[in-house]
């Protein structure tokens, strides 16, 4: 026969007051009670009788004074808050994300126990298929380790010896880069707040990506203003091209256009500037940014590859999006003349016909490199060689 449990559980608080944390002892005793039991509290703290009464009433516990002792019986709603609570995880393992993230989990840590009256949160991207990449944890760790300090990573005080007109070209190219980096920050930032934080690593990768772009904006601005008071030109065609990216409402399509095609092309441009920049600062900021961009491209390729495997029809949507963007931009000027000429002059380093020829060749070669890169990445997403060639050719002449 099971021994009868005592009806009264004694709790001795000594001289500890409720205003010094004694409620923890009372709570602990109440947690051990079954509904048929009560706790009898003893203690010598000055305000105990007053505080215990008020505390119990606020918690819904019954409070009585009986034979000089304080008797508390547990509220009937004692564990009501957690009775229908749910784990914020699709699986038993708190560490691995589920296929679908419930809006009722809100911003709870993955695997936390969530009260059932948590208000529904509106995270539009709540399916694993639409956001997840198995590479995200690794790319996040890489990105976190690779954060550099603009103040010390760039040799800001190194000498500039090139002609003034080459410096003008650098300023124009930097102006163009800043504008593109701004869009490259705004686009993932728009989606960052829509990804269900159950997919924590994705949110983290996107947050780092935004931080990377913030640094890129900074270093290109600092480089542009090294010897000049004013920045260069911003064209309607360039901005229209970036606006089509910014306005794309679909995460997968935006990610495809921005990263696979745009940042991928930019990667080639940044390595070009690293190779041909007329000064140490330009070469340095280009290289630091290119290293970050490589991670952005790798991440997007990775999650879009997974997405394409699970939803093959999305490739056709990507193709239509490239085509639609091309239609929208075909009457704009594409890459502005000043940027193209700036790149030529920057690569030439001077005005001699031989130097200009060399610079021009380099820019033509850059465009071919960009095209090859885009076709390679499209192939990785499962596009045929013919499709990849056609889509790459339709990509915006503004590069990003």
């Amino acid at each position: 026969m099971e021994p009868l449990r005592e009806r009264i559980i004694d709790v001795d608080l000594g001289d500890l007051g409720l205003d010094e944390g004694a409620h923890l002892l009372v709570q602990r005793a109440l947690a051990q009670c079954d509904p048929a039991q009560v706790i009898r509290v003893r203690g010598t703290a000055h305000a105990l009788a007053v505080d215990l009464r008020g505390w119990a009433r606020a918690q819904g516990h019954r409070f009585e004074v009986s034979e000089g002792a304080w008797i508390l019986s547990r509220s009937a709603s004692y564990d009501g808050r957690w009775r229908n609570a749910v784990r914020a995880s699709g699986t038993d393992a708190a560490t691995s994300p589920g296929e679908h993230a419930s809006s009722r989990w809100g911003v709870a840590a993955r695997g936390a126990l969530v009260e059932d009256s948590v208000p529904a949160w509106d995270f539009a991207l709540g399916d694993k298929d639409s956001v997840w990449s198995d590479d995200a944890p690794r790319l996040y760790a890489m990105g976190a380790a690779a954060q550099w300090d603009p103040a010390t990573a760039v040799p800001w005080s190194s000498e500039l010896t090139h002609p003034a007109e080459v410096e003008d070209a650098v300023v124009q190219v930097m102006t163009y880069l800043i504008e593109n980096e701004t869009a490259a920050l705004q686009v993932p930032a728009r989606f960052l707040g829509r990804v269900h934080p159950h997919y924590r690593e994705i949110v983290q990768v996107l947050a780092l990506q935004c931080a990377d772009e913030a640094r890129h904006m900074e270093v290109f601005t600092r480089r542009a203003l090294l010897q000049r008071d004013a920045l260069g030109l911003s064209t309607a065609g360039g901005q229209r091209s970036l606006q089509t990216l910014y306005e794309e409402p679909d995460y997968a399509i935006a990610s495809f256009l921005l990263s696979v095609l745009g940042e991928g092309s930019f990667l080639s441009l940044l390595w070009f500037l690293h190779a041909h920049g007329p000064d140490e600062v330009t070469r340095s900021v280009a290289k630091l940014s290119a290293q970050d961009e490589a991670r952005h491209v790798a991440f997007s390729l990775s999650h879009l590859q997974r997405h394409c495997e699970r939803e093959p029809a999305i490739r056709a949507k990507f193709a239509r999006a490239v085509d639609a963007r091309h239609q929208a931009l075909q009457h704009t000027a594409g890459l502005n003349r000043e940027v193209f000429d700036g790149l030529v002059l920057l690569a030439a380093g001077g005005w001699s016909p031989a130097a200009l020829r060399r610079g021009h060749h380099a820019v033509i070669a850059l465009q071919q490199t960009m095209d090859e890169g885009r076709r390679g990445r499209l192939a990785r997403l499962g596009f045929s060689a013919g499709e990849a060639e056609a889509l790459s050719a339709l990509h915006t002449r503004n590069f990003m």
Binding site: H46, A47, A49, V50, G54, R57, G60, S77, G80, D116
Partner: protein
């Protein structure tokens, strides 16, 4: 115009959250097929007058407005009934706090001193503790000076600001004692208003009751019964009910009872608290 059949509650808007609370109840009841609505008043006296005039069906009354309604109803040959209250409305006490290092060690030491209280119409922070002191032999304004903290008169001390100000006056030395509801001793320590151990409890009142849902004998019986049934059926286990219960400060609705208002009744008789108002409305 057709008369709608909503069961209407009157409540006092002592804080903007009152709108959120009763709008939440309105939706909760609507989802259960019960037409419910509410009207808000800026102070309890206006609410009591409107109730007796028949402007709404049930009043969410403070202890003082319960007595006001009761006494007003009697003059009209009518009757009030407390049909429900929160679990947290039962068996409250108030305490008189003094500085641990101060001169007041007993209730009689209050003679010639200053006692800080809440709003002049606060049952818990003014009327009941002053009545308690009177029964202990020290009478307000005869034996000691009362320092009132009239935060929102007409709201019967629902706003906690008056009690906080009373405790501040005690700490600052502007008063020698302060009256607060029992639970606020712990709350004020936790919010850092005074240091643990720096104030002492001089005396504690006997238990009393706080708010209740009041109806008149003329209330439509079926709808009143349904209202009460829905109210008492609200469960803290229910995720739809729980946020409402938490906002309104309870775990469970209980039956109303009218036995917990004797100290307050004695206080308003002793201090003549509602006589001028009652004379005006019945005059």
């Amino acid at each position: 115009m057709t008369k709608d059949h909503s069961f209407v509650l009157g409540a006092v808007a002592y804080d903007p959250k009152v709108v959120t609370i009763w709008e939440g109840f309105r939706q909760y009841f609507a989802a259960r097929g019960f037409a419910f609505d509410f009207v808000l008043y800026t102070h309890y006296e206006r609410q009591v007058e409107a109730h007796l005039r028949g402007d709404f069906d049930v009043a969410w009354n403070s202890p003082l407005s319960w007595l006001e309604a009761q006494r007003y109803a009697v003059t009209l040959g009518r009757r009030v009934e407390a049909i429900a209250m929160r679990d947290s409305d039962r068996d409250l006490t108030s305490v008189v706090l003094v500085r641990a290092d101060g001169p007041v060690k007993s209730v009689t030491d209050l003679k010639g001193r200053i006692v800080a209280v809440g709003a002049s119409d606060s049952p818990q922070a003014t009327l009941i503790p002053l009545e308690h002191l009177a029964t202990q032999g020290v009478l307000a304004e005869r034996d000691f000076t009362v320092l009132r903290h009239d935060v929102m008169v007409g709201k019967h001390g629902d706003h906690v600001g008056g009690e906080r100000d009373a405790v501040r006056a005690l700490i600052n030395g502007d008063a020698d004692a302060a009256c607060v509801i029992d639970g606020n001793h712990l709350s004020f320590v936790r919010e850092g208003l005074f240091a643990q151990g720096s104030l002492q409890i001089l005396t504690q009142t006997a238990p009393y009751d706080h708010c209740n849902m009041t109806v008149l004998e003329s209330v439509p019986p079926a709808r009143c019964a349904r209202f009460r049934e829905l109210l008492l059926g609200m469960s803290f286990d229910d995720p739809e009910a729980r946020p409402l219960l938490e906002m309104e400060g309870l775990r469970q609705w209980l039956d109303g009872r009218d036995t917990g208002y004797t100290q307050l009744a004695a206080a308003i008789d002793r201090f003549d608290t509602i006589a001028p108002w009652l004379a005006r409305v019945t005059g």
